[in-house]
């Protein structure tokens, strides 16, 4: 259904005021791949995502989507170019119902394709159907996480950014999200995942990139993570 997008970050610098957070970050994500961006707390994962989503402008470097530069575009243009964003702090619209949260996000994909609608979302997330009238602010953490992933899907993205989707969730929820990500990958959606949970990454990711103190320190295929055990230990708080 989706045509996947290829995303490329070239030598991105990002600063908040006087403090520089990202230093020449380069990442390449092939169409249809699932890439895990691993790193400790404060390493710069969220900042990288915010740069891709257009919420913070890089002071240097380029972000390319299918070879077209998207840095400097407003967030809504980036979203319409096919990038869905699931922020780490969820950011549901707390007073809107679950269904209204989903409706707000409804849009065709970058190629006008419409796969996701309320019905399909509810098939995949039966829990959301049963609580569709409830105010999103009153959901549990796991339910909110489901909702924001579903909300991102309502925009029919071809590439989806998920910032620590497994954080703070019960193992059963984590498994459910892992299954969903595998399904999205089968559908051809490109996935970028920020994570600290190594095990979760090994289940879902095809590629891993490790970031530390705003710099990329490792790029590899997920299957080689065992071989990189030494590096992994060094850069992830295990």
């Amino acid at each position: 259904m989706s045509r996947a997008l290829k995303l490329e970050l070239r030598e991105i610098d990002v600063s908040y005021g006087a403090s520089q957070i990202l230093f020449g970050v380069s990442i390449e994500i092939e169409k249809g791949a699932t890439m895990a961006l691993l790193g400790r707390n404060g390493a710069g994962k969220t900042t990288t995502f915010r740069a891709i989503a257009g919420l913070v402008a890089p002071s240097a470097g380029q972000i390319l989507l299918n070879a077209k530069a998207i840095n400097g575009l407003s967030p809504y243009r980036i979203a319409r170019a096919g990038i869905g964003y699931v922020p780490e702090d969820r950011q549901v619209f707390p007073e809107h119902s679950v269904e209204d949260n989903l409706r707000i996000a409804k849009k065709p994909g970058a190629h006008r394709q419409v796969y996701w609608n309320l019905q399909r979302i509810y098939e995949v997330f039966p829990t959301l159907y049963s609580i569709r009238q409830r105010a999103a602010g009153r959901l549990s953490g796991g339910e909110q996480q489901m909702l924001v992933i579903a909300r991102a899907l309502m925009g029919n993205p071809e590439l989806i950014l998920l910032d620590e989707p497994s954080e703070g969730l019960a193992p059963i929820m984590v498994q459910q999200i892992a299954r969903l990500l595998l399904r999205l990958r089968e559908m051809g959606v490109t996935i970028v995942l920020a994570e600290q949970n190594l095990h979760f990454c090994q289940t879902v990711a095809t590629h891993v990139t490790i970031i530390d103190k705003g710099q990329i320190v490792l790029r590899d295929k997920a299957e080689n993570l065992e071989r990189d055990a030494e590096i992994t230990r060094r850069y992830l708080a295990v």
Binding site: L55, A79, Q91, F93, E95, R103, I104
Partner: protein, 300 residues
């Protein structure tokens, strides 16, 4: 204080009808201005201090349209739409750059335009008081109601405003536009990450608020005399209404506007020299009992 006059009035049904209907149209005009103010504040987070000037522009636009076309209907359209267009341009050029600035900066920009627009009105329409007079459509004998007499225009104004209030509440609470507007009020960034052009949405909300102020000006034109300073006093009163109703609440603005209108109408008999004071006293009372206003919610 003139208590006997007030008691006299309250015991005469014709006086009560006259004062209630006078209070209602004060309230309706206040609501139209205050609802735009509260909508813009609730969604965009800026206090549009030029809102009273928009009301003034609406009155003058409608005056000119009425003189040119002779149709009060055209005059209302000209006042409402003219000010809406003006508001959108104003928002894009002067307000959108200061969304993230502090309140003083926003106040400065707005205050500059209060002065500029007053001068523009003086240049275009002159410094003298101007009146539209009652349009021919409404130059009918007063309607006999509950033992008193009510001008037909008052009924029209009240009916139209109640319809506007109802439509506005449906728009904000039931439509997709309203859902987006309320989402933008909570989290603009996230909404734009979902593909919504929030700049456009902000301009639309500002335009809608301006439209309401312009419509108020046009509806006031037959019953108020116009002068270049007319924007400022309604601004203050609209603030009071907004605060009493609860910042950001449209229903709150409606009830607060009606209450303030009624207080003004009866206050002008019982306390002719203290009607403004009564309004402030009422506001203080409401805030003592409920600091967020009648329908206001606690800010997070």
């Amino acid at each position: 204080m003139n208590l006997p006059a007030l008691l006299d009035c309250v015991s005469s049904s014709s006086c009560v009808v006259t004062q209630v209907s006078t209070g209602l149209i004060i309230g309706m005009l206040l609501f139209l201005v205050a609802s735009g103010l509260t909508l813009i504040f609730g969604v965009l987070g800026v206090i549009n201090f030029t809102h009273g000037s928009f009301y003034m522009l609406g009155a003058y636009f409608s005056l000119t349209a009425y003189r040119v076309t002779g149709s009060y209907f055209d005059a209302v359209i000209a006042g409402a739409l003219g000010v809406a267009v003006f508001g959108v341009v104003f928002e894009r050029l002067f307000i959108s750059p200061v969304y993230n600035s502090n309140v003083l900066m926003q106040l400065l920009v707005c205050y500059a335009f209060i002065l500029i627009l007053d001068d523009v009105v003086k240049i275009v329409w002159g410094t003298d008081f101007q009146t539209m007079g009652m349009p021919a459509t409404f130059a009918l004998p007063p309607i006999h109601l509950f033992g008193g007499f009510v001008p037909p225009f008052y009924v029209f104004l009240t009916g139209l405003t109640v319809a506007a209030a109802f439509s506005l509440s449906v728009l904000v609470n039931k439509t997709r536009f309203g859902k987006l507007v309320r989402a933008a009020a909570v989290n603009r960034q996230m909404l734009s990450c979902l593909g919504v052009n929030t700049s456009l949405l902000y301009a639309a909300v500002f335009g809608l608020g301006s439209l309401l102020a312009g419509a108020a000006g046009a509806l006031a034109a037959p019953v108020r005399s116009m002068s270049p300073e007319m924007g400022f006093s309604i601004l203050i009163e609209s603030f009071i209404v907004t605060v009493i109703g609860g910042m950001g609440s449209i229903i709150g603005a409606f009830f607060a506007a009606v209450l303030v209108g009624i207080i003004r109408a009866f206050g002008s008999i019982g306390y002719p020299l203290f009607t403004d004071g009564l309004m402030f006293a009422f506001m203080a009372l409401v805030l003592l009992v409920k600091p967020t206003g009648l329908f206001g919610r606690k800010l997070a």
